[in-house]
Amino acid sequence: MDACGKYYEMISQLIDGELSAQQESELRTHMGNCPDCAKVYEAFSGISQGMNLEIRTAPAGFASGVMSKINEAQKSNRRKKQSPWKIVFPVAACLALVFVVSQSTGMFGGGKSANDTATLENRMFSSTYDAGSATDAAPSYKSEFAGDAETAYGDSAAIEISDKNTATELVELLVSGQPLQNRDIPTAAADYTVICYLGEDNSGDGSGERNISIWWQGDELLCRLDDRPQALYDCTASADEILAIINSYLD
């Protein structure tokens, strides 16, 4: 019966206690006169009561099992690729990545040689950090970018990536690795900064943007979320992969 269509849905809400007093009273009055709706109400409440199924509990040792897995993952080689976990963005958000481009110190300048790699190495990390392989040539890129977290805006041109898929893919790669614990936040200026503008407010400080600072280090990237200074991540993609994505977007 079409007329009862809206009541059926209300019955469902009544079972869940999600009707206003007025709606409830309207519904109960109707059910008093409508046997079909009364039956639907009985069925839905029967189902609801019948769903007090046995509560299953986790077996003993479950928690310590989880913690050992976490420890194993921490100790294992960080350079190993892991599947990126998803950063949850609101579905309606339009994600734009703004790459701040400036002149440069650019490791990503076209045709750079290993010499520049060496210069870059000097700028980097405090001595407590193991700099790793310095022999890889710096990846090349169409435009140059550099800058540190404070001067990221500078007088540079910005490249906006408004294609949501590209932007999402990039962010997922950049901040997808293991969180790094117990290590120094790099003291050197970040090699580049990615500013993510989100369509809706999705950052803790209400600004609607998230900054990701990136340090290039040999063949791996370290990324830090500026809104959480302690959040330093190992980027699972290589610099080459990141640049390939950017370059193909710019084509």
Binding site: Y8, E9, S12, Q13, D16, E18, D36, K39, V40, E42, A43, F44, G46, I47, S48, G50, M51, N52, L53, I55, R56, T57, A58, P59, F62, A63, S64, G65, V66, M67, K69, I70, N71, A73, Q74, W85, I87, V88, V91, Q178, P179, Q181, N182, G204, L225, R228, Q230, A231
Partner: protein
């Protein structure tokens, strides 16, 4: 655990204290396992799903901003892990896991009969068993939403957070899930016994 205690533990984990995470696991493991168990209906798989959900939670702990309880966020991770698992399992079988809700709109609600109001304990147990069977036969999205509402007792707005849906969608999906479950129960051959029909046979 109070919300305040939970917030403190999360902060400690975010600042690098791994052991604080174990306390969060202990406090939430039953909820997570119970949900996973009802979703995938297999203990071994449910344990894997539960573990995966907690590991994902640990790895993405910086994304948890405390707008909801930690358990709500865990429910979201658990539900997604289970839905992904179920989707990959049935990909070969070509069955649609995400119900095309349009399909259901046209169909009228079948008016249920007295089976749903059990009088005796026997009948109540039968209904409960039939419901457990019926839940497993539901499309995964419908199963998830009913589990969250009926077993984990989440409110519509908490469910909206867990499943990342608009509240209006939560409302209508719960209704459709119940409607579908009714249809499954009515068609359930093992559930066709009713005292009334028995009496009729004797006549």
């Amino acid at each position: 655990m109070t919300r305040e205690e939970e917030t403190q533990l999360v902060l400690r984990v975010q600042n690098g204290d791994q052991s604080a995470f174990e306390k969060l696991v202990l406090d939430n493991q039953n909820r997570v396992f119970n949900l996973a168990m009802r979703m995938v209906n297999n203990e071994e798989d449910a344990l894997d799903m539960s573990q995966e959900a907690f590991i994902k939670a640990y790895n993405s702990i910086d994304n948890f901003r405390g707008e909801s309880r930690f358990s709500v966020w865990l429910y979201r991770l658990t539900t997604n892990v289970c839905l992904d698992f179920l989707r990959s399992k049935t990909r070969k079988a070509h069955s649609s896991l995400t119900f095309t809700e349009d399909e259901e709109d046209g169909k009228e609600l079948e008016i249920p009969d007295e089976r749903f109001s059990p009088d005796s304990i026997t009948e109540r147990n039968e209904l409960r068993e039939a419901i457990a069977r019926g839940l497993n036969a539901l499309p995964a999205d419908y199963r998830a939403i009913l589990l969250l509402r009926e077993i984990e007792s989440l409110s519509y707005d908490e469910i909206a957070l867990v499943l990342e849906l608009e509240e209006g969608t939560v409302k209508s999906r719960i209704f459709r899930a119940r409607k579908k479950l009714c249809e499954i129960l009515i068609a359930d051959r093992n559930f066709s016994y009713t005292p009334a029909s028995n009496r009729q046979k004797e006549v």
